[in-house]
């Protein structure tokens, strides 16, 4: 087991390195010069050279590359060209927003997707149930999250004025209240702040969660189909158990193992989804930060965001792989 973990970690390192190299070189062949982008076309040659020097862009590409790798390993992504403060700090500030969005939409996706997948697997011979559910899954897979987001905004924010149009609420405030222990001394203020965050979170989480629910429902459907065809389910039935017990006690628990496989895929899709969701809802977060950084040609910020995205995905997949052994003792690693 430990040997497996070490080997799996060793495989992850070149993968991360490769992914980071792709990011670095892609960002370096960008057509427009960041100094020109920042200072405008009228800037003098001297001013541009000065800017280039300040940003370290005058150094050889190889030196910039090694420097980037070495600093990334220490989570030091340099200083944002535009904002002028450390990228790491910026990322740390944006991360919680993206984190709560991913988590909230995961909850929505699981609450909607898993039951739908199970029902459509168990009732697959009843077209009146199976068909609408499969259509729902297809619609969810095909609906772009940014369009669903806009439709939700049109209906719930503009027409009924139930939810805000932009922003992410005072998440920093909530976090600092948790850290300082103020949440216990001022519970009312704390709950109010949490409520505000949830108020801002509802529509984005629904939009992203619904599109993800489709993927979850399909995977739970096939996981359930796989499980109900197993011998132990036949045994459970043969023992004379009623169908409900067979499903709840025997099938559901075993379904969770194949379902775990999708956590890695899920996080990857959800993180990509945040890029679009945060843009539509004008919510702070890593995804919106990435889009803004690309628009402003802010290399370090964009590189930092993509590196963090990639790291999260690789690490989540690693953890999921290891969790299998814990959840399913039949799996052994060599």
């Amino acid at each position: 087991m430990i040997q497996y973990i070490v080997r799996r970690l060793l495989v992850a390192i070149p993968m991360l390195l490769g992914a980071m190299s792709i990011v670095f070189f892609a960002m370096r062949v960008l057509p427009s010069d960041p100094c020109v982008a920042m200072m405008g076309g009228d800037a003098t040659a001297a001013a541009l050279a000065d800017c280039s020097k300040n940003l370290g862009l005058d150094r050889p590409l190889a030196a910039q590359y090694v420097n980037y790798l070495w600093r990334s390993v220490r989570f030091d992504f340099g200083t944002s060209f535009r904002q002028g403060y450390p990228v790491g700090e910026y990322i740390a500030r944006m991360f919680p927003h993206t984190f709560v969005l991913v988590m909230a939409s995961a909850v929505v996706a699981a609450l909607v997707g898993i039951p739908i997948g199970i029902i459509s697997a168990l009732k697959r011979r009843n077209p009146l149930i199976d068909y609408p559910l499969r259509i729902f899954a297809l619609l969810g897979l095909s609906m772009p999250v940014f369009w669903l987001g806009i439709l939700l905004l049109i209906v719930f924010s503009l027409r009924f004025d139930l939810f805000p149009l932009i922003g992410g609420g005072d998440l920093e405030g909530v976090i600092s209240m948790i850290r300082s222990g103020e949440m216990f001394s001022y519970p009312r203020d704390f709950l109010k702040a949490v409520g505000d965050v949830l108020y801002h979170l509802t529509l984005p989480a629904l939009a992203l969660g619904f599109t993800l629910a489709a993927t979850v429902s399909r995977l739970s459907r096939s996981a359930m189909l796989e499980v109900v065809s197993q011998d132990y389910i036949r045994t459970a039935r043969a023992k004379g158990n009623i169908e409900r017990i067979v499903i709840y006690k025997h099938a559901l628990r075993n379904m969770m193992v194949p379902l775990l496989t999708i956590v890695g895929v899920f996080i990857a899709i959800a993180l990509t989804g945040t890029v679009l969701t945060e843009t539509v809802f004008t919510r702070p977060g890593l995804g919106k930060m990435l889009v803004d950084a690309i628009g402003a040609r802010d290399y370090p910020l964009a590189q930092g965001a993509v590196t963090v995205f990639t790291m999260i995905i690789i690490v989540v997949n690693l953890v999921v792989d290891m969790l299998y052994a814990v959840v399913d003792p039949r799996i052994t690693y060599r």
Binding site: L16, V29, L138, S142, M143, P144, W147, L276
Partner: protein, 299 residues
């Protein structure tokens, strides 16, 4: 006695009408989704190909008397107009071109590069396989949209670059699938037979492995056309796609975002077009997979 009688009634032959329905039902259930999906996809292809004939007006023509008018508010503008007084219906019809071009061309790129690499990896094994698969894994670390976003940022937004970016982003999926298919296929007796009569490696891969993998690859390619269309729309929406004034569904939607308060039709119709196009290829791909792989159907 009563038990026997009940058993007899159960064993009675099913009435003829139900028998007919029973035979037609599964057939209909199998083919109806393909038909709906294929019709939607065909509609999109016709729309893209015949845009100059179908569009009621030019997609860039500006009508100063019809700025931000709702569907049907001004004669001739069935789906309304945008902030420059351009006809939304015409822009959506022309927008089908970019979506379809990117959708088909990027999948073709991923297919023509990815499939040979995957077959080679699966068939040859050893170092060739390790090298190809590590490269694919590295690209796989990025979700499709993120990778396409990085590449298109690096190359700049244009039709060709967008096709390249999405093609490269989809590439590892084809490499992986082709490899796993060729791993299975190479164990077949007919491969051994072909080898015995002196077929070379290239011939084995091109004439025996590839044709046998083709069905599964086509199914997956159809599903990835849907992914490519959605990715294109996402890139356009983020302002990284084909630059204006060329209409794309993503940039119509993105431009319409500023006007959702007064004029929700701009975003509603362009988004609907994206969804229907993606849905069409998803339905066709799904139905094809069900037809070819009965295990996935679950009955």
């Amino acid at each position: 006695m009563a038990i026997v009688r009940r058993a007899e009634t159960v064993d009675l032959p099913i009435p003829a009408r139900d028998e007919v329905r029973g035979r037609l039902g599964p057939q209909l259930r199998r083919w109806l989704p393909i038909l709906i999906g294929a019709l939607l996809a065909a509609a999109m292809i016709v729309m893209a190909a015949a845009a100059p004939l179908l569009a009621p007006m030019s997609p860039s023509a500006q009508f100063s008397n019809a700025v931000l008018k709702g569907p049907g508010a001004v004669e001739g503008h069935w789906l309304g107009t945008d902030e420059f007084g351009r006809d939304i219906l015409s822009r959506i019809i022309w927008g089908a071109r970019v979506s379809l071009e990117v959708g088909l061309a990027s999948v073709m790129i991923a297919f023509t590069i990815g499939v040979p690499l995957g077959i080679l990896a699966g068939f040859r094994g050893g170092r060739t396989e390790t090298a190809i698969m590590r490269g694919a894994d590295m690209l796989m670390a990025f979700p499709t949209l993120l990778l396409a976003l990085i590449i298109v940022t690096a190359l700049g937004g244009s039709l060709v670059n967008e096709i390249l970016a999405i093609g490269i982003a989809l590439l590892p999926n084809f490499v992986r699938l082709a490899r796993s298919l060729s791993l299975t296929i190479r164990e077949n007796d007919y491969i051994m037979a072909a080898r015995a009569i002196g077929a070379g490696q290239l011939r084995l891969m091109a004439r025996h492995v590839f044709p046998n993998a083709l069905y599964a690859l086509i199914v997956v390619a159809t599903l990835y056309i849907a992914t490519a269309i959605r990715t294109e729309a996402s890139l356009s929406f983020l302002g990284l796609g084909v630059p204006p004034p060329t209409p794309t569904w993503g940039n119509i939607l993105s431009d319409g975002r500023q006007y959702i308060k007064c004029c929700p039709w701009i975003t509603t119709f362009s988004g609907l077009a994206i969804m229907l196009a993606v849905l069409a290829f998803n339905i066709v791909g799904d139905a094809l997979r069900d037809l070819l792989d009965p295990r996935m159907r679950g009955d």
